[in-house]
């Protein structure tokens, strides 16, 4: 059931990509805020993943640093 839900979410994500409009670099003021960056501090993320991986049976799928305005 949950797996099906996940595939529905992925499907919706992919559909949303194909349907979304291009956001121009000068329209990305909000996206350029550090708060909008995934894993703004990768060091802290790495430390958190380290202690979680020792205590839980799962690993991976946590994404990578990215986001922001991407206009650099």
């Amino acid at each position: 059931m949950i797996r099906k839900l996940l595939f529905v979410l992925i499907f919706l994500f992919l559909v949303s990509i194909t349907g979304c409009t291009i956001v121009q670099p000068w329209e990305r003021e909000r996206l350029a805020d550090p708060n909008m960056i995934f894993d703004e501090n990768p060091i802290q993320k790495g430390i958190k993943e380290h202690y979680i991986n020792i205590r839980e049976g799962s690993e991976g799928g946590n994404g990578s640093q990215g986001g922001g305005c991407g206009c650099g």
Binding site: I2, R3, L6, L9, I10, F13, S16, I17, C20, I22, V23, Q24, P25, E27, R28, R30, L31, D33, P34, N35, M36, I37, F38, N41, I43, Q44, I47, K48, Y51, I52, I54, R55, E56, G57, S58, E59, G60, G61, N62, G63, S64, Q65, G66, G67, G68, G70, C71, G72
Partner: protein
């Protein structure tokens, strides 16, 4: 299919030269002191130093050094091993105030931007008295559609050696990780990321210290756990960051994980970030995790079986994790040492972690683990 072969050839030849983001990292030094305390009487201190330097010509290098100092009361028990981390008693550990186990980790990396494509490679070496690990990782980041879409490819190879103090042998464990990520700007204030991970593990999966007690009437036998020597792990994660106001954002994430040991898990996380002022930023995090058990895990074994495991990581259960963090950015208007420099950022974080397993832990005989985590650090632009 021809298309599939092309994709495969692309992955094989280009993944080892990988990357992260399109913008070059700033020159800076970060130093953190991280601490961990739990009700299993385990204390961990890990200072971390990271230096990033831009060499010009779109090239950045970074180096980091981490020390993991573990001390645990459970080491003084008969097994002389910590039930959570499998940290063991070092020569000077145990009842005195010196750490029971020290791990040193050194890593070096380089990032180069070719046109708009970012490529990075990192090497890491970690050593402790009964374990060593070598890692090579590479990332590639390719923007499309005026940088509205970014494709990220990642590869990591781990070559580990396990040589427990109480054994005479050395065994290998090799891990290959492949990540595929897609980051997409959906609107002026919404950005999403889809991530797929594939992890292949081969070799000795244990640490050489755990034991299984098989009780039969008035007698009992102590055996070593036996786990399969191969494990394939897959996970898919989706997260979205929404700018809910000028100063605040809300990140929602979900991850599904499954592997060949029959462990399946669901993770939900929420993160709220806000600028309390031009200098102070706050992050609130909430994470919930649910897991099924490995097919061979049992809370107790009555007879020896082909595969037997006691590690709590293989047990079914759930975890709750909450955290709050603040960063203080320095400003010339502040009349306080260090914070008067606009190149300085102070980092603080407090976390609470609760793990419940459906049967008690193999050594401490507890079903609930409560842990407290503190971080204090700084970043300094150079």
């Amino acid at each position: 299919m021809v298309v599939d072969k092309k994709i495969l050839v692309f992955l094989i030849f280009f993944i080892p030269f990988v990357a992260y983001s399109q913008t070059e990292p700033a020159d800076e030094i970060e130093f953190d002191i991280n601490t961990y305390f739990d009700n299993f009487r385990l204390n961990v201190y890990y200072p971390y130093l990271n230096v990033t330097k831009n060499l010009g010509n779109n090239t950045t290098i970074n180096g980091s050094y981490l020390v993991d100092a573990i001390s645990s009361a459970s080491m003084k028990m008969i097994f002389r091993v910590d039930g959570i981390t499998s940290a063991t008693n070092n020569k000077t550990g145990g009842s005195d105030n010196t750490p029971d186990e020290l791990r040193h980790q050194l890593s070096l990396g380089i990032t180069k931007i070719f046109s708009e494509i970012s490529v990075s490679a990192n090497g890491m070496y970690s050593i402790e008295h009964d374990y060593s690990s070598k890692t090579f990782a590479a990332n590639l980041s390719i923007p499309f559609a005026k940088k509205n879409t970014i494709l990220q490819l990642g590869y990591a190879g781990n070559w580990d050696k396990v040589f427990p103090q109480v054994r005479t042998w050395t065994k290998d464990r090799n891990t290959t990780t492949i990540n595929l990520g897609l980051t997409q700007i959906l609107s002026k204030n919404i950005i999403s990321q889809l991530d797929f991970s594939f992890i292949n593990m081969d070799g000795y999966m244990l640490d050489g210290y755990q034991v299984i007690r098989i009780i039969n009437g008035s007698s009992f036998r102590v055996l070593e756990p036996v786990e399969p020597d191969k494990r394939v792990r897959k996970s898919v994660g989706l997260r979205t960051n929404i700018g809910i106001s000028k100063n605040s954002s809300l990140q929602l994430g979900y991850r599904y994980y499954w592997d060949t040991w029959d462990i399946k898990s669901n993770t939900i996380d929420v993160e709220f970030k806000t600028h309390l002022s031009t200098m102070v930023n706050m992050t609130l995090g909430l994470r919930q995790y649910f897991q099924t058990k490995a097919y061979f895990f049992k809370s107790e074994y009555l007879t020896p079986e082909p595969f037997m495991g006691v590690d709590s990581k293989l047990n079914s259960g759930y975890t709750n994790d909450v955290s709050i963090g603040f960063t203080f950015k320095g400003d010339k208007s502040i009349n306080f040492p260090l914070l008067s420099s606009d190149k300085f950022t102070l980092i603080t974080n407090f976390g609470f972690y609760h793990r419940h397993t459906d049967s008690p832990d193999w050594i401490m005989r507890l079903s609930d683990l409560y842990a407290y985590l503190f971080t204090l650090g700084f970043k300094f632009s150079i």
